[in-house]
Amino acid sequence: MRHIKHLLFALATVFTISSCVSDVDDVFDKPSSQRITEAIAADKAILVNQPNGWVLKIYGDLDFGGYNLLLKFNDDNSLKTVGEIYYNSTNPASYEVETSHYKLEQSSGVVLSFDEYCKNIHFFSDPANPAGLGTNSKGFYADLEFRILSASPDSIVMQGKKHGNRLVMVPSPVTEENWQSYLDKVYDVESDMDCANYKINVADKSYAAKITYRSITVTIPTEDGNEYLDIPYTVTPDGYSFYKAITLDGKTIKGFKYVENAMIYPELNNSDVNLEAVVPPLNQQFVGATWYPTLSSIGAFGKPYWNAIKEQIMGPVLGETLVLFSFGKVYSSVMSTYGNYFGITFASNDGSSNYFGGMPFNYELTGDDQITMSYNGGDANVGNGTWYINNGYFHYLMVPFGCDTQAKPVERTFKLTTDNLKKPSMIMLTDVDNDKNVIQMSASPITTPFEH
């Protein structure tokens, strides 16, 4: 008992001695509430005082990559936005400028919250994504509230409050009036760089790559099979900019620079690293797509035959109009009926309905840009093909491609050329044995080929 008392006294003494320290230096010079109020005011000033507004590259589920949002923050907490998703480059009138609301508040630091619905922004955080991305409950899986980690007039680094993605906002390089041109450029860059397959070349090595949404998947062969590296990125007017730098063969890769009409896009800093579009040979592209010749695009050899059908048959004999003539892969809307074949698909209209038919061709590819082809002969014709040969002399239309005036197959060999190997808008066939037999065909559909 005595010992306990002594212990108590000793404890009491210790407390009494240690409890009073004359003065502790404050870690912070101001109370916390005052500091956060000032931090909010400072961040708001940075947001508002950016005359061109800001570009936010927004990411959610990294499988989808990132998208550009242009934001102008006003002092009254209103917000003006445009974004890629609801921007339609072919119809700029539908360009969606939205006015909405934002707030800055204290919640684990300064938090920027887009707290009023604005489809440009909330497309990315809607649990039921309007474009069907992701599963319901997640959608694109981006945040709508962001902790501001650092803010300066040059960049604002933020972290999604719920899902934690680190996002960067930089000042818009163009004035508010020209936001549209920024998005136009993004659209053009993406369409021009778009390709079915790529390679990433690092010094003397090269890796197969493919793009899904805005994520590059690189195949890296290892001893135990393939490994895959996913690189989410955003398209900017300058090319592809990665969510974060990756390392491949010891090289740090941050993005690829856009070069107009090129096949090779260099890395931002490494001259021996690049992204290369891998394009199939032209003759393979030719047989894999549908092409549209017109009367005016048929050369001197074929034109008289086409003219004969236009002038003497369509109106006078059939009382119909030719509304479709395609060559190559079967015209897509009749593929389910006729099956997949290579050759002609046509449609003739009698004023009330379209009569479809087709004449398959045989072909053989030589090298990268040559094709030898001929009419199949008749037994393989589909739909009203044979009827229009018997009643409308449609084999005359086939003469330049590989047929004679008796509807008998003739083998012709063509050399192919195009305007853009990566994405041909047209293809030109030149008969190697007859330089008058030239056929130019468009990649986009042309109705009423006799009128063009």
């Binding site: 008392k5 006294f9 009491a12 407390f15 009494t16 409890s19 009073c20 101001k30 109370p31 509430s33 005052q34 009254d76 909405s100 609301h101 707030k103 919640s107 938090v111 919250s113 887009f114 707290d115 009023e116 619905y117 909330h122 955080s125 809607d126 649990p127 039921a128 599963t135 319901n136 409950s137 997640k138 959608g139 899986y141 709508l144 509230e145 409050k161 719920k162």
Partner: protein, 384 residues
């Protein structure tokens, strides 16, 4: 002993006086924001119509602290929030004020209303959506605000299950009004308990989490007003209440009829004779096979049965007699359960709250019809 006491005193004094000599408090700065917020016209309208009369905080902008962190949701559209604010006041707050009195709704109304643009989707992939929540009688959260059409609201009081189609995507009665009454019912039953007898009626039929697999259309045949009602007895209670006050008597009757289940046993009358179905004109209905051909009666030997027909001119013909559709025995088990549960709900509101559900329903239906003309979000009024 005294010495010890003095020591203790000293110690106590030491503790008390030791600290707190700082005097440099900045009194010019307050941690509380005393500035009057800038209010839009809508904010002022809310102040006059929700906050001042009912002490309700109507939150239409996203506020992280008020949302459930387990879900991903988005803010409500401003224009749609305005429309819904006008509608909720008209068909909900004012309906209770009219039916029961202002003090009732002032006392029991949830204090916080929150609007959310999207639904809360559960992440299990079942596509289960949360339509509304009520937290301890304090807060009601309404979801899917962005799907409404303020100009042309669609309010269906006549179908006993939601008739959602591509052209009628958003039945306000089902998504909002029904939900609001449902949540309010929870608040009231949290204040005053209802008879525990209610729990015993459908005890074995509750589906718990499996309720998502119960279609609203088939729920009556299991003794419930909706799929959600089959979850557990509290939801069942609230669903019966909210269904009743937001639907016409005809719809309620349709619901009850749907609870009567036809069995496979053919029905007989008091004398043991078969009972046949009749069409609208009172004629018997011939049975047909899958191809639509009439099935004919056969006798005990499998031979066709003929009937003699004498025409006006005396000509006699024999025609084969079709087999007619028979009435089946009906199972009223779930119909009875539904009626029994409804009676408890009805009595609870009469006895515990002095609310006559029929009067309330009449007011709710009338007011719902009134907002069908659409909302002018500029003037925050119902269109004329």
């Amino acid at each position: 002993m005294k010495f010890k006491n003095i020591l203790y005193l000293l110690m106590a004094a030491g503790f008390m006086t030791a600290c707190g000599t700082d005097n440099d408090v900045d009194s010019s700065y307050s941690a509380f924001d005393t500035e009057i917020p800038t209010r839009s016209a809508f904010d002022n309208w809310l102040l006059e119509n929700y906050t001042k009369p009912y002490n309700i905080n109507f939150i239409y902008r996203y506020n992280d602290k008020e949302t459930d962190n387990a879900y991903n949701v988005i803010p409500a559209d401003l224009e749609k929030s305005k429309a819904l604010a006008v509608m909720i006041k008209h068909v909900w707050l004012d309906a209770y004020a009219e039916a029961v009195g202002e003090s009732f709704i002032k006392t029991y109304s949830p204090r916080v209303y929150q609007l959310i643009g999207s639904a809360e989707y559960s992440s299990g992939g079942s596509n289960e959506m949360v339509l509304g929540t009520a937290e301890g009688g304090l807060k009601v959260t309404v979801f899917r605000v962005n799907a409404i059409t303020p100009d042309n609201p669609w309010i269906d009081q006549d179908s006993y299950f939601p008739n959602i189609t591509a052209s009628n995507p958003m039945d306000l009665n089902y998504w909002f009004f029904h939900t609001m009454h449902h949540e309010f019912c929870h608040i009231l039953t949290q204040q005053k308990n209802y008879s525990t007898e209610f729990q015993t009626i459908s005890t074995s039929d509750y589906q718990t989490t499996n309720w998502v697999n119960v279609d609203d259309e088939e729920a009556p045949s299991m003794g419930f007003t909706s799929g959600y009602g089959s979850k557990e007895y509290n939801e069942d209670f609230a669903e019966i209440y909210s269904f009743y006050v937001t639907h016409t008597q005809a719809a309620f009757q349709k619901l009850l009829n749907a609870a009567i289940v036809e069995t496979d046993t053919p029905a007989t009358d008091a004398n043991g004779n078969p009972v046949y179905k009749k069409d609208a004109d009172g004629n018997l209905i011939p049975q047909t096979d899958a191809a639509g051909n009439i099935i004919y009666q056969t006798d005990a030997n499998g031979q066709p049965v003929y009937s003699k027909v004498t025409a006006d001119d005396g000509t006699v013909t024999y025609v084969q007699v079709p087999a007619y559709e028979r009435e089946m025995e009906k199972d009223y088990t779930n119909y009875n359960k539904l009626v029994q549960k409804f009676n408890i709900v009805y009595d609870y509101f009469t006895n515990s709250w002095g609310i006559d559900l029929d009067t309330l329903r009449e007011i709710v239906l009338r007011r719902s019809k009134e907002v069908e003309k659409g909302i002018d979000t500029g003037s925050l009024t119902i269109k004329k």
